[in-house]
């Protein structure tokens, strides 16, 4: 069970440490990477040796976060800090060796399993990057353009570019502070939200084809199979950002996106509007997350998996 600590205590821990390994979650997104690289850059600015690791390959669109950063010489970590990682399972295969050694976790998921020795948790914040920004301030590091771009990306991606209900005025003001550091927010937003590969467009077409409606059209389910992924030529990068699509349809309370995995199980993303609690739905199936966005894993075959998620949805919205 983690000891809950404050932002300023977390900064103190980091100041006292060195050879800091920062862990991002697998299937990395803008928040875990923005938090990780933002923190890493700030730690280096105060003379620490630090690097970021992730079990999965980091998608090209996040390259700007680290491409002008020196590679840290390989070092044996003395202090391990996880960012935006709610559960050790989310460390993924490669990083699972560190599961029992996480000294500090910085996170905004209320579902955090408190696996780290110390935990800074703020479920009120839209993004872990917001907590990291506060820690960076406490470290006394001035935000340069690179740090600001990392923090901005974390906030922008986790709020759907300031679109979702988790966007507080504080989140917007913090993003405004980052703009004042001279970042190219248009480039970041175009890369994060608007750029699609040909394979992605093809996959999107097939995914839209698969869309089915249930519970009086209040629930829409979209399935992405291995066959679709193969046929479209989509890579890991192309699979991101599909989850919101079903919920964007008029009248849909619960949007479900199911992605078939190599082992035949389905990784399920649930998005809801204010009529339903996504986290309640997913927790019925052993998953978790936020009120409007949550996830779980269900075993196949596809029809049984759809059945299972529909049953959970039904029990929550009816």
């Amino acid at each position: 069970m983690s000891k809950l600590i404050t932002v300023s205590q977390a900064a103190g821990e980091l100041k006292a440490a060195d050879k800091i390994l920062i862990l991002a979650h697998h299937y990395p997104d803008g928040d875990t990477l923005g938090s990780g690289f933002g923190l890493c850059r700030a730690l280096r600015a105060i003379g620490k040796t630090a690097r970021v690791e992730c079990s999965d390959k980091i998608p090209d669109k996040y390259r700007f976060m680290f491409e002008n950063m020196e590679q840290a010489a390989d070092f044996e970590p003395e202090f391990i800090c996880a960012v935006d990682v709610a559960d050790t399972l989310l460390l993924g295969d490669k990083l699972s060796v560190y599961a029992d050694r996480v000294e500090l976790c910085i996170d905004h998921h209320c579902s955090n399993t408190r696996y780290a020795r110390k935990l800074v948790l703020n479920p009120e914040y839209a993004a872990t990057a917001m907590i990291v920004a506060e820690i960076i301030r406490e470290l006394g590091v001035e935000f340069d353009r690179d740090i600001a771009a990392c923090i901005y990306t974390g906030i922008a991606t986790d709020t759907g570019c300031f679109k979702y209900s988790n966007t507080s005025s504080y989140a917007m003001r913090m993003a405004a502070d980052m703009l004042d550091c001279g970042i190219n927010s248009e480039m970041i937003n175009r890369t994060m939200f608007d750029m699609k590969s040909k394979a992605r467009i093809e996959l999107e077409r097939m995914a839209l084809d698969s869309m089915r409606f249930f519970l009086g059209d209040r629930c829409a389910v979209m399935v992405i199979t291995n066959e679709m992924i193969e046929k479209s030529g989509a890579g890991e990068d192309d699979l991101e950002g599909l989850a919101p699509i079903p919920r964007q349809i008029e009248g849909v309370y619960v949007g479900v996106t199911m992605r078939e995995k190599q082992d035949g199980t389905f990784r399920v993303s649930v998005r809801t509007d204010n009529h339903a609690d996504a986290s309640a739905i997913c927790s019925l199936l052993g998953g978790g997350g936020h009120v409007r966005a949550a996830g779980c894993t269900i075993s196949g075959p596809q029809d049984r998996a759809v059945e299972a998620i529909l049953e959970a949805v039904r029990s929550v919205i009816c």
Copy 2:
């Protein structure tokens, strides 16, 4: 030629006036309507008689701006104020009778033709609603939730929900202030940016099916035929916002969306990135527009129309 005045002078003009008619531009968008209804509500709060008019029917998605507002009894306007209207031509048919009588124009377009007697112009601002918000402050009116929702909508729609390069930190902080008034930004953003009908999703799927790539994949062409529109059941509202899709594909310099009209001609929308001038392409075919977004009309049949646009694209990007 307009006299340029300050925000506080504009507030003075409005304070001194009564029976104020506020004009929005035709094909109304979130900024002209948010500016108009925000200002109208503020003027009413200080006891003025005021109403907003627009030549075109106001789309349903903007209803929230005025549905809980009392209809102003019909009055003969004594003071006419245009918001976000760069040119009297943009008043549209119905409001063109007022073209020579506009006392005050509030606008952010540098292309403003200075037709009003007095003009508050700030081309640095992403939205006219930002100038209106400053005027409302000068009027001494406290922002309630309704006024804030109008101003927020103006800023959000003209910045693509804070995505475009015109998004200043000041714009974000002003939007943050509006959030603090307790608006439901998620509802607004969902309505403005994310809501799609089932027919729209179906049409999008068919449109993606039609996508073809040319000129070494630097040009993508998507065609929307009358048959697709009919089959999907899409209405006029559902056709909005399809034009950007082809250009969002990685590596595509020129994205072309062609929409078949009832008479068999094609209305062509061209979107470009910084490699090509959309307006140059369209002007070769008798159309025009901006550097990144332009349009023209080409006669059918479809194959010949695609040929024609490709020839124009080729001559500009090669």
